[in-house]
Amino acid sequence: MRNVAQGPIAWRSELWGSPLRSLATVMLLALLAWGGFHVVEWGIVHAVFRADAEACRAVQHGACWGVVAEKWRPMLFGRFPYEEQWRPAIAVVVLSAVTMLSAWPRSWRWWLVPLWAAALLLFVLLMRGGVLGLAQVPTSRWGGLPLTIGLAVVGLALAFPLALLLALGRRSGWPVVRTLSASYIELVRGVPLISVLFMASFLLPLLWPAGWQPDVLVRVLAGLVLFVAAYLAEIIRGGLQAVPREQTEVAMALGFGRWPVQRDIVLPQALRLVVPALTNSVVGTLKDTSLVTVVGLFELTGALGLALGGDPTWRPFYLEGYLFIAVVYWVLCFGLSRYSVWLEKRLSAAP
């Protein structure tokens, strides 16, 4: 089963090597041809690409990509003021560029931290405005792709330090710290994200001082951070366990203190070991941001509902709209998972 031979020559024997294989090949080819024919016919041949609702309604067995041509801006940017949408566009480009730069192991240097801080500041500045002559846009009007990517990136960035503390806490020699960390992790991992988001959106307002209504975006972000941190903590703990205990003992015998050992010897190795698992978690978090729709934030999934739900002209073509945002999610997530595979190979090849 393993060591499947690669290349066209192996494929030929796989495809036609025996009567049974030939039969399977013919059946699968027929299935692919049938499915491919219908997809091409629906998606391309009979499809309407113009933003023309009349033409879309007239077509019987074809897709209406016109809905994307007409509605791509509200789908990608939600309720952000139309004339100002260059701002979220640049904000997305900035975050994506910094993310791609940090994806390259050669750039794993100290300057990444201030760079990220600057990028996040620029992101908030562009989205929020109110300075440098930019019109102020309240967070209630943020939406679409910038919100999806922003929630994922900021959520992960804030969750990471908390996760680190929880992971170290769960391995601590102090029983109280160990118990508290373990209880928190298991509690959060045992409940659905949606219940944490409900809690953030219904309960946090009760804890703020009267008269100050915390922003719904801040509350949801808090919920996401608390949730993601528990999952990241377990990944980091896995890495910590994989670093041989002798290294700690040797370092302490050499006179290193407890914290310097963790900081300079154990953590760098542990984090390097779990980078692929962390990347998987990044993909999961990116997908999980779609759930904030349920508590009334209009990120990519919510923005689609906003763009099409209130418009009777284009509402019948929801399916095409879903396919459009599914492609956006897919490109982001598939890209990340390919990157994870590449990085795993690169890190295991490195000495």
Partner: protein
């Protein structure tokens, strides 16, 4: 001197830990107290007494009949039963489908491998919520009307009205399957499954199957090639090699990850709230909307899911102990 220092260290450790416990308890007490104060100031009653009051909403489907005059606790029970009613079939389908796709990804046939790989990469990289909403839209708008249902298999009909499947009935001649029949006013007989139920079970199964497939593939790859060769040497057919030699050993790697996957499947069933299937979270959401008892309802959701998670972990750990190599933990 050294002993004195370490004794001082121990005292310090205990002092810090005691302070930590105090801080956590004080924080929790403050949060609850403050939240109750705010609720009281707003004139919202709190506590679980509402559970015995009539709910005022009805639940359209499920094994437990529920109408508006019955108390809230019964609504939550009906919601919980609906959660289980969706999660258990989805778990079974996803494990079966996922195992087939996982094996298919390693099959010595390039087309089959390609199709299975495409399935995994397509479904794994799109959020479940988007897939569920897409399925719900397709169920409600793209299928034919109930009067002109699609016949998928003998006795299996699909339309906007949902899915009708054969269902076992106890009659005069003992147990027999009742097949749904197509009439002038739609399909009757058998089991009629609502579009929302079909959406959540199908969506969860297809999505989870992609992850199960990866778990199964990793499990099979963990079995050493020598075992397969030994099977060949004994004259076992490829299917026998898989069934007798590879899968039993692969299970040791598969079961712990599969447990995680079943746990997330159960938690993911909470997304049914977005497609209108009345499971636990949906009932709680409706309850919060009608009486504002957010704190209590979220506490119930969390407690129930923790309990379900514990039950699944317990069951799967028992199973894991059976498949694990003897003498190993």
């Amino acid at each position: 001197m050294n002993g004195g220092a370490s004794r001082r260290g121990v005292w310090l450790a205990w002092a810090v830990q005691a302070l930590l416990v105090l801080a956590v308890v004080a924080g929790a007490v403050w949060v609850v107290h403050h939240a109750l104060e705010v609720l009281r100031a707003r004139g919202v009653r709190s506590g679980f007494d509402f559970l015995t009051e009539p709910a005022g909403f009805s639940i359209s489907e499920g094994w437990l009949d529920f109408d508006a005059s019955q108390p809230f606790w019964r609504a939550f029970l009906a919601g919980l039963i609906n959660t289980v009613r969706a999660a258990v079939p989805a778990a079974i389908f996803s494990v079966v489908l996922g195992t087939l796709i996982g094996i298919g990804r390693l099959a010595p046939h390039v087309l089959l491998r390609g199709i299975c790989t495409a399935y995994v990469e397509l479904l794994r990289n799109v959020p479940l919520l988007v897939q569920l909403l897409m399925l719900a839209f397709a169920m409600a708008n793209l299928l034919p009307d109930p009067t002109e249902p699609l016949r998928l298999l003998p006795g299996v009909w699909l339309s906007k009205g949902g899915l009708s499947v054969p269902w076992p009935m106890v009659g005069e001649g003992g147990l027999h399957f009742e097949f749904p029949e197509r009439g002038d006013f739609g399909v009757s007989g058998g089991a009629a499954l609502s579009p929302e139920y079909v959406t959540i079970v199908a969506g969860l199964s297809f999505y989870s199957a992609a992850f199960v497939a990866e778990i199964v593939r990793a499990g099979i790859l963990s079995v050493s090639q020598g075992q397969v060769l030994a099977g060949q040497a004994l004259g076992l057919s490829p299917v026998q090699q898989l069934r007798i030699v590879v899968l039993p050993q692969a299970l040791r790697v598969i079961v712990p990850s599969l447990t995680n996957q079943l746990l997330s499947l159960t938690k993911n069933s909470s997304l049914a709230v977005a497609v209108g299937y009345p499971e636990l979270v949906s009932v709680a959401n409706t309850t919060i909307g009608s009486n504002g008892r957010a704190f209590e309802c979220i506490a119930i959701i969390m407690a129930v899911y923790l309990l379900l998670s514990l039950l699944i972990s317990f069951g799967m750990n028992r199973y894991n102990a059976r498949v694990a190599l003897r003498g190993w933990r």
